[in-house]
């Protein structure tokens, strides 16, 4: 007789003896309480519901907990799906939620989440996904009622009805973006009471042996969890690796076009135009400055690092200050008075990294031009241009800004007051393979005779680190005035004031 057949027969005999002997040793209460038809599945479903309703806005828990909750709900309803059509519907709805939420989390690891178009689409999709909670909770309630009915029992499932109504109210509050405090607190209390009731119903049904049609498990829960988490992490990694900076159109600068600008350059330098800025301008831009009669310029070096704390002791007092050993970012602003009907100025805002900027993510320059305020008294065609440059292997490369346009946006202050502002934003990303990164923007403005001075401001926002979630661009950070993302971004301010 073969060994496996012998083993099989021995196993059979052994099992028979076990069954004979164990008849006289029933399980104790503790063991018996664990032999239930759907305790694990229902626990996963209820935990999933709870985690989807808990919102903790720190350490990314507002993403992690709902994701765990949705995965648990999928696993729980996977086991229950064959019991009735309600639980099957819940299973499908949770799969849809899982796909949507995974895409949402992955998208937040890219700069696309900050794009206005993508934001609009994702708001619509997110609202549709949020609506799913209503049919989900309703089907869950009906599923419990069906199990109840099948077992010939009539234990109350009214908590499910209350939860359905609760989810409708929650959805409406989300849609109208309710910002009050009283209703959410009341909703939270109601949810807690309903949830506890549902847990009790589930526990009772479970312990009372309400049995279910078992669904064969072909892939274990652990493998599904691993797969879901792995796919998500891969997409997040790809997001950070390939979609964390703007795609720029770098090309080598054509040196030949500067031949007929030497005379103008000499004149400008004599008037005080900084040579390093002049060398970066195109021939056409230099030609626009022909006939200049006055130049006003200001150059400042700004630290972009965190500095170091320096402690001094003076007259029984301990004084601490932040000292910067290097100032990596030079901002030079130049005003050029050129011939025109009215007093016409060309304003240049130039930036140059004097040291390695470190991380190359997204950069933003926010310009508040002289004409931007309605009462500024300055007239302009509001055309603003510029480019970014870097050097590599003795060659200079240029690219237009990824975007350079005027935008009106609103932001909330620290006390949640809303403000509106208009500014010109230029966005770009530096490449890791270069050095001497720099760039500039320029525009023209004419004096309307209202005031005898004007100013033009530049705010440069640099992304220092990759470690942020959700991903925010430097421009978005500046638009929110850095309330959401301290540490990852640093903004440097500069301005040019001209008396006319």
């Amino acid at each position: 007789m073969s060994e496996s057949r012998l083993q099989q027969e021995n196993d059979g005999e052994f099992e028979k003896k076990l069954s004979e002997d164990i008849s006289f040793l029933p399980p104790d209460d503790r063991t018996m309480s664990k032999i239930t038809p759907f305790k694990k599945a229902m626990n996963m479903v209820l935990t999933g519901i709870a985690l989807n309703c808990v919102v903790l806005n720190f350490l990314c828990l507002n993403y992690i907990l709902p994701f765990i909750g949705i995965v648990l709900s999928v696993l729980g309803f996977r086991a229950l799906r064959k019991e009735n059509r309600w639980f099957y519907t819940c299973f499908i709805l949770n799969i849809i939620k899982l796909v949507h939420f995974s895409v949402y989390i992955a998208l937040n690891a890219t700069i696309f989440s900050c794009s206005d178009k993508v934001y609009l689409i994702s708001e619509i999709v997110n609202s549709a996904a949020a609506f799913i909670i209503i049919p989900h909770v309703f089907c869950f309630w009906q599923g419990l009622r069906a199990v109840n009915k099948k077992a010939g029992a009539n234990s109350g499932t009214a908590a499910g009805a209350v939860l359905t109504l609760w989810s409708v109210i929650l959805y409406v509050l989300q849609i109208i973006r309710y910002t009050g405090l009283i209703i959410p607190v009341v909703m939270l209390i109601i949810f807690a009471a309903v949830f506890i009731s549902l847990c009790k119903i589930s526990k009772n049904m479970n312990e009372d042996g309400f049995s279910l049609k078992p669904s064969a498990v072909k892939i274990s829960d652990g493998k599904i969890i691993s797969a879901a988490v792995s796919v998500l992490l891969v997409f997040i990694f790809l997001g950070y690796a390939f979609f964390g900076s703007y795609p720029m159109k770098w090309q080598a600068v054509n040196e030949m076009s500067y031949a007929d600008t030497d005379e103008i350059k000499i004149q400008l330098i004599e008037l005080g135009f900084p040579e390093n800025v002049l060398n970066d301008l195109t021939a056409e831009e230099i030609k626009q400055c022909a006939g200049a009669s006055k130049i006003v310029s200001e150059s400042n070096d700004h630290p972009v690092n965190d500095g170091r704390t320096h402690v001094t002791y003076q007259a029984n007092q301990v004084l601490t200050e932040t000292v910067y050993d290097s100032n990596e970012l030079r901002i030079t602003s130049v005003g050029v008075l050129v011939p025109g009907e009215r007093e016409k100025w060309i304003i240049f805002h130039h930036f140059q990294w004097t040291e390695d900027p470190g991380f190359c993510g997204t950069e933003s320059i926010q310009i508040l031009p002289a004409y931007i305020k309605a009462d500024s008294g300055m007239i302009s065609d509001r055309k603003i241009s510029g480019r970014v440059l870097y050097d590599s292997d003795g060659k200079t490369f240029e690219s237009p800004f990824y975007s350079l346009e005027e935008e009106t946006y609103s932001y909330s202050s620290i006390i949640y007051r809303k403000y509106s502002e208009t500014a010109v934003f230029g966005t770009f990303s530096m490449t890791e393979k270069g050095e001497n990164y720099r760039g500039y923007v320029y525009y023209t403005a004419e004096s309307g005779g209202l005031y005898n001075y004007f100013d033009s401001r530049i705010n440069y926002t640099h992304q220092k680190s990759i470690f942020q979630y959700p991903v925010m661009t430097a421009k978005k950070n500046r638009m929110t005035y850095g309330i959401n993302h301290s540490g990852v971004f640093v903004t440097v301010n500069d301005a040019l004031m001209i008396n006319i």
């Binding site: 021995n10 196993d11 005999e13 052994f14 099992e15 028979k16 003896k17 076990l18 069954s19 004979e20 002997d21 164990i22 008849s23 006289f24 040793l25 029933p26 399980p27 104790d28 209460d29 503790r30 063991t31 018996m32 664990k34 032999i35 239930t36 038809p37 759907f38 305790k39 694990k40 599945a41 996963m44 696993l75 086991a79 077992a151 010939g152 029992a153 049904m205 312990e207 009372d208 042996g209 309400f210 049995s211 279910l212 078992p214 669904s215 064969a216 498990v217 072909k218 892939i219 274990s220 829960d221």
Partner: protein
């Protein structure tokens, strides 16, 4: 009149016939859950359910609250009732296959001694199992749940159940000192 779950045992002890209705209301699904793996036929299950309820009604005086909960006692009666029903009605191939695992009733005196010793060893071995192992053990060998049912209710694959049962059997063999396997 509706009774609370905790009052059903009391009502049965007082020979209150309403206790039977309440027993079915509160414990009917549990009894059906225990019976289901033994009896595939729904008519047999209904008959066995009725027999179980009658057994509980007749033997309620034997319930000792100090040895465990009323719920536990109900499941023991239900399980034993299903085994008896099966033994009484073993006429189909399916039932025969299952009935091979059901204990036979009348051992000889020597066998009785051997069985007593074996059970003592088994009780000791079971007490040394982890909680998860105990649950799997009782599901399989006491409640006769199929691997599919166990897998579905525990949320694991059938292969995982088979693997765990294989390891459990081997462990019990070692603990029980199974001479036949040498």
């Amino acid at each position: 009149m509706l009774l609370k779950k905790s009052d059903v045992a009391q009502a049965l002890m007082k020979r209150d016939e309403n206790g039977i209705n309440e027993l079915l209301r509160h414990y009917g699904p549990l009894i059906k859950y225990v019976i289901r793996p033994f009896l595939k036929n729904s008519a047999d299950r209904e008959e066995c359910l009725s027999e179980t309820v009658m057994l509980i009604w007749k033997n309620i005086d034997k319930f000792d609250g100090s040895k465990g909960s009323f719920k536990r006692w109900v499941t023991v009666v239900a399980r034993n009732s299903a085994v008896s029903f099966l033994r009484k009605n073993k006429f189909s191939e399916e039932l025969e296959e299952l009935s091979e695992k059901i204990p036979s009733s009348e051992p000889s005196p020597e066998e009785a001694l051997e069985i007593k010793e074996r059970r003592r060893k088994l009780a000791k071995a079971v007490s040394m199992l982890s909680e998860k192992e105990k649950v799997l053990f009782y599901r399989k060998y006491y409640y006769f749940q199929s691997n599919i049912q166990i897998a579905a209710e525990m949320g694991i694959t059938e292969k995982a159940v088979e693997g765990r049962l294989y390891r459990l059997r081997n462990r019990l063999r070692v603990m029980l000192g199974d001479d036949e396997n040498e």
